[in-house]
């Protein structure tokens, strides 16, 4: 945002990597979107730690959105080796769903068999694109929250210039 503020890329990549790994692990994904918001808060904290001047909420939004996008990439990459496990989890969920749902569409049992052998490159990138959009929105929110928590510097800190 101005010359005194550090580069946003490194904090965004670190926060995004943490969020992406944690949200990609099946057992830990019970925290839902909180991992993405938490990763963006971490990115904002890292940015604030290295910044000699106070951050604006706009800084938080940008670093958070970048963290969200990198989290989507990491989440997708983590998902590749865990694909088989995820399919097994999804199958159990579909079976549970069939107990709750009034009427399941015909052939639902075969849906997962079609993807059980792997994911096509087109599907991978389409999923990545959608994830990136959703994660960026949640990440921006987390980044702004992080700025409100860690972004303020004391007056004398603001005068420390490069």
């Amino acid at each position: 945002m101005n010359d005194h503020k550090p580069n946003m890329l490194a904090p965004a990549l670190i926060g995004g990597a943490v969020a992406g790994v944690l949200s990609g692990i099946p057992f830990l994904n019970c925290f839902c979107c909180l991992w993405i918001i938490g990763g963006a808060v971490l990115a904002s904290y890292l940015l604030a730690k290295d910044s000699p001047v106070s951050l604006t909420s706009g800084d938080g939004a940008i670093v958070g959105a970048l963290a969200g996008i990198s989290a989507a990439v990491v989440d997708s990459l983590v998902g590749i080796p865990l694909h088989g496990l995820n399919v097994a989890v999804m199958r159990r969920m579909m079976e549970r769903l069939s107990e709750f749902a009034d009427e399941m569409p015909s052939g639902w049992e075969n849906w997962l068999d079609r993807t059980g052998g792997g994911v096509s490159i087109a599907m991978f990138f389409m999923g990545l694109f959608i994830s990136a959009a959703v994660f960026a929105a949640l990440g921006a929110l987390g980044g702004i929250i992080g700025t409100s928590l860690f972004g303020k510097k004391k007056a004398q800190g603001a005068e420390i210039a490069h």
């Binding site: 019970c30 979107c33 909420s57 706009g58 939004a61 769903l97 994660f135 702004i144 700025t147």
Partner: protein, 168 residues
Amino acid sequence: MKKGPNTVLMTWLLVLLGGLLWNAALFAAPLLRQEAPVVSAMIYAAFSPVCHQIPERSFFFRGFPLAVCGRCLGIYLGFSAGTILYPFLRRFSRPFLPATSIFVLVSLPIGLDTAGNFLGLWASPIGLRLAAGLVWGSVLPFYLITGLYEVLRLFGGNFRLKSPGQTK
């Protein structure tokens, strides 16, 4: 009309529209399950990276679970409710971030509930998860509107609403 309030109004409208579309998608997933199963599956898939979507922890609509669990539903519905309340609490003057104490206060219910469930200390009913999400979600637009306002001012300048007959 001054530049500042116009930008705030545009930011608020963007956030309001985005939130309403987001919430509409949650209900569209089960609604379209029979009529348009491919679209429905795409919506479920879009939300799957940000929610576990466990049916027992989800509300049902037309016989199928919503696209997210009860807690996430609370967060997103609370977000839209907070956005609708925003003009009454802050009007369209220059936005500012809520106090840290308020964030800590509204985060306590969802934090305790999530941690307790994860550690196996208790199993909250879905209504409590929804309520905790509603409380937390209602404060979030006050952050997003402030941050988005700053970004729009930085990259897009000030939005100006043209009055009738105004050419520039």
